[in-house]
């Protein structure tokens, strides 16, 4: 079972705790949402999993092994991919080169051509603009490329940090429908989002984070319950 399990995670920036006592898990074929106001510790959680910031306490296990304290490239190569906030594409490199960088996380290069073609099927713009610098793409196209780049790494768990930020509504629809397709392929998804209602409706369960702590967990049934959603944010 290649699932991601976090137990009692604590991350601090210079003595101030950004995340406290957080526990969650992501199993294959499951979408787990993480919502909450700005500064709640959502991105910090993803960064801690990815090894970009060090955890002060707690366990981060992936496929049965502890990955806490490993370098980001080792975690990527173990099978966790992050689509970072703001996409972080290489603007001067072409779309194709950006995509090929996603292959860096794969220990072996067999089957990569098929996977590149597969991702191009999922996101036609990737193929259409393959020779253009990534920097000239629109925001929505860049987001698609960023997700495509993460997918060619063939991760077991895909983490996304606010993928819908600043995108046009039609592109947001595309991102959310892509996530459903990804779930059907058996990947585990950990989704940090500002669009609370859509996230709750999509995810198998959604944790609400505030001040670095997990406040409550919502299921898709709660998506229609606006009062509960608002209460979750104001608690």
């Amino acid at each position: 079972m290649t699932s991601l399990v976090i137990r009692d995670l604590e991350v601090a920036y210079g003595g101030v705790a950004a995340v406290r006592g957080l526990s969650l898990s992501v199993a294959p074929g499951e979408i787990v949402g993480l919502i909450g106001p700005n500064g709640a510790g959502k991105s910090t959680t993803l960064h801690a999993i990815m090894g970009l910031v060090s955890a002060r306490r707690g366990e981060i296990r992936f496929a049965g092994e502890s990955i806490r304290g490993r370098a980001p490239e080792a975690i990527a190569r173990a099978g966790i991919a992050l689509v970072p906030e703001g996409r972080r594409l290489f603007a001067e490199l072409t779309v194709e080169e950006n995509l090929r960088l996603g292959l860096a996380a794969r220990p072996r290069s067999n089957g990569t051509d098929a996977d590149l073609a597969d991702v191009a099927g999922l996101f036609p713009i990737v193929d259409e603009f393959r020779h253009r610098p990534a920097g000239v793409l629109s925001g929505g196209q860049q987001q698609q490329l960023a997700i495509a780049r993460a997918l060619v790494a063939k991760p077991a768990v895909l983490m996304l940090d606010e993928p819908s930020l600043g995108l046009a509504p039609t592109v947001v629809d595309l991102v959310f429908s892509t996530l459903e397709a990804i779930r059907e392929r058996g990947l585990g998804v950990l989704l940090v989002e500002q669009r609370a209602q859509r996230t709750v409706a999509l995810a198998d369960r959604t944790h609400v984070l505030a001040n670095g702590e997990l406040r409550l967990t919502l299921t898709p049934d709660d998506a229609a319950d606006t009062d509960r959603m608002v209460a979750a944010y104001l608690s």
Binding site: E73, A76, A91, R100, L101, G135, V136, Q142
Partner: protein, 311 residues
């Protein structure tokens, strides 16, 4: 007085356009360009200005002198030069660069100063202030006549070698996955690592390529300057560093052009200045550097940052 000045100026300009001076200057520019690539590549990937780069060349030159004094065959001397420079490069990367990678640029620069002086002192202890002589390749200083112009063989060797090295490097950077990883690391190291690019591997490859270039430069410099002392290649390194800054530190092509430019100017001024005034050459060059930096602080060969770079 004015006549004297005018005739001096005419001589100067006349010497500068002299074909032989031009070819020699291009040859020197080619060697400087290779040094600039070595410094620029490591800076690009690791954001580290390796001031000890000149001492790598010095060590390589001593290796050639060592072999030459023992009458080893030429290939053995060159092989020893590569072995010494590559081993030193690897050691530098493991012992100094890697542990300090997360430190600020200033800390790393000061550390490379320390390495530079350490290597220089070791050379002083081992070989003394007068150094050694590398004579195995001096035959390459003989001229060949090309279209009525006498050109030293080493100049041709330098130009061809530099062109081949640059071509190979461009192919490596643009056609291989390690090259792609190095370019990505140079643009945004933390995102590259996030994607699985191995920080240690790309740093090591960059340092090894820079080391190989230093070895090549050591071979070619000993042909022209066979007396190897502990301060060997020091002034060239400072000039190349200036050239790299003038060209534009953050872009490899710009840095390379900067290195070529300062080597070329150095050759041109060296050929055109009367020999009684050649000690003023570095002053001229650094004056030029200051002027360029005042006018174009981002570098001579960089474009202004456009929209494309801001994602």
């Amino acid at each position: 007085m004015t006549d004297l000045l005018a005739s001096g100026l005419t001589d100067f300009v006349g010497d500068a356009v002299d074909l032989q001076v031009q070819v020699d200057a291009i040859g020197l520019g080619a060697i400087f360009a290779l040094m600039a690539v070595g410094i620029g590549l490591v800076f690009g990937v690791m954001r580290l200005v390796n001031f000890a780069y000149g001492q790598l060349i010095m060590a390589g030159a001593f290796a050639i002198a060592f072999a030459s004094e023992r009458d080893w065959p030429v290939w053995a001397g060159i092989a020893l030069c590569f072995a010494v420079v590559l081993a030193l490069s690897l050691a530098m990367e493991r012992v100094v660069f890697r542990p300090l990678r997360t430190q600020s640029a200033a800390v790393m620069l000061v550390a490379t100063f320390a390495v530079a002086f350490l290597l220089q002192s070791i050379a002083l202890l081992w070989f003394g202030p007068l150094g050694k002589t590398a004579t195995s390749l001096v035959d390459l200083n003989r001229p060949v006549s090309v279209g009525g112009v006498d050109i030293r063989k080493i100049t041709i060797v330098a130009i061809v070698t530099a062109a081949v090295c640059l071509l190979l490097l461009v192919l490596l950077l643009n056609r291989t996955s390690i090259g792609l990883h190095m370019r990505a690391a140079a643009m945004d190291f933390s995102t590259a690592r996030l994607l699985g690019v191995r920080a240690n591997l790309v740093s090591m490859v960059a340092v090894l390529i820079a080391g190989a270039l230093a070895a090549i430069v050591a071979v070619m410099l000993t042909v022209q300057y066979p007396t190897v002392t502990p301060t060997y290649a020091l002034q060239e390194t400072i000039l190349v560093l200036a050239g790299v800054v003038v060209g534009g530190m953050t872009r490899l092509l710009a840095a390379t052009l900067g290195g070529f430019f300062i080597g070329y100017m150095s050759g041109l001024l060296g050929g055109a200045l009367p020999s009684s005034q050649s000690q003023y050459l570095p002053s001229f060059l650094f004056g030029l550097v200051i002027l360029v930096l005042l006018v174009r602080p981002d570098g001579l060969f960089t474009r202004h940052r456009g929209l494309v770079e801001r994602v």
